[in-house]
Assembly symmetry: C2
Homo-oligomer: 209 residues x 2
């Protein structure tokens, strides 16, 4: 196993390779992947080295082989289902987003405590939060997205954990507390925007004159 940023790079390589394959590319060089993933070619080769992926000196890598290798390392052999807890602006957007399908990811249901959100007949059904446990157990769901308001995040998380969910993408600023064996990725939209403001302001002060 490797750390998060290394895995994120491998995922980016793989996604770039899938695009190259769709364009009928057969060979690819570490340089190309570096460009596509926004890193250096040495980094690409080092990553491959760590995972025992080898290419052909002077000949680069075979796109097909590389995709196979990365898919094996990244271990995504099948499609996965996610549920969304919190069917507000963000939750709804994720449920309707069609970019996940090509990555083999499906959002299969949404849950909310607000009865006006229920819609069991929708393309992606929305149920009461109290139905989450039953749904998750029955459908053996292991992954979820938290898109509730911050104050409700920890509670939503606990409902998910208790139902057997093992991996969560958290869109709230809350730092969720839970068992070690649950994987949590955080996306904090506020700090993303604030950090952009910071770096632009810094650039103004230093580079701008």
């Amino acid at each position: 196993m490797r750390n998060r940023s290394c895995v994120m790079r491998l995922l980016r390589y793989k996604n770039a390779l899938l695009k190259l394959k769709a364009l009928n590319f057969v060979r690819v060089f570490s340089d190309n992947l570096a460009d596509a993933a926004g890193v250096t070619s040495a980094q690409v080769r080092k990553d491959f080295s760590i995972f025992g992926i080898t290419g052909n000196r002077r000949g680069g890598y075979q796109v097909g082989d590389l995709i196979e290798n990365l898919s094996h390392i990244l271990g995504k052999d099948k499609d996965y289902e996610f549920i969304v807890v919190g069917v507000g602006n963000i939750g709804k957007a994720l449920m309707r987003y069609d970019g996940f399908e090509k990555s083999g990811i499906k959002i299969s249901a949404g849950f909310d405590i607000d009865p006006t959100k229920y819609d069991p007949g929708a393309a992606v059904a929305v149920y009461d939060l109290s139905k989450l446990n039953e749904y998750v157990v029955k459908n053996k769901i292991r992954f979820g997205i938290i898109a509730v308001p911050e104050f409700a995040a920890q509670q939503a998380f606990e409902v998910m954990i208790n139902s057997g969910i093992k991996g969560v993408l958290n869109f709230t600023p809350a730092r969720l507390k839970g068992p070690e064996d649950c994987i949590i990725n955080n996306i904090n939209l506020e700090t993303e925007l604030e950090s952009i403001i910071y770096f632009v302001n810094v650039a103004d002060k230093t580079g701008g004159k």
Copy 2:
């Protein structure tokens, strides 16, 4: 200037402090901030040390002072306006999201090439992409969010750059190419979800038995 992850930590400290202040806390220890931000207390003190923030041995830090210090370092003295390019699921969600306001961030307009999206009278007005330049120049906007489909990302980015935008949050998997002095933050929803799947699967194989 410091690197991205350090700045992200400072932003998290600040947000935690704002919550403590709202609860009328006066003193805070590095331990508390560490918990709130998901790091160690040594990390907190080190960060502060780097930026010359000092507290009081044995007494911790004054919440108010700390907020003032961090605000000064992070340089966010006023509110900032963002525009959104691409008024699809994600774009719309961001335009309606009410969590930015408390951070002093306002989404002031949206732009799209699809005429059915136009809505100059909405709470957050939506205009044709061709109006972006005029709007951005007139309102001196410096920040934008890209929420278009991947194939349109680079073009949208160039329109923004040419209008004077200096900082961008990119929700597409595309690696945008542009001038050095434009700050780009990327959020790749697909790889976020895929990395969760990876780490859960790894945990299954190692810890699960």
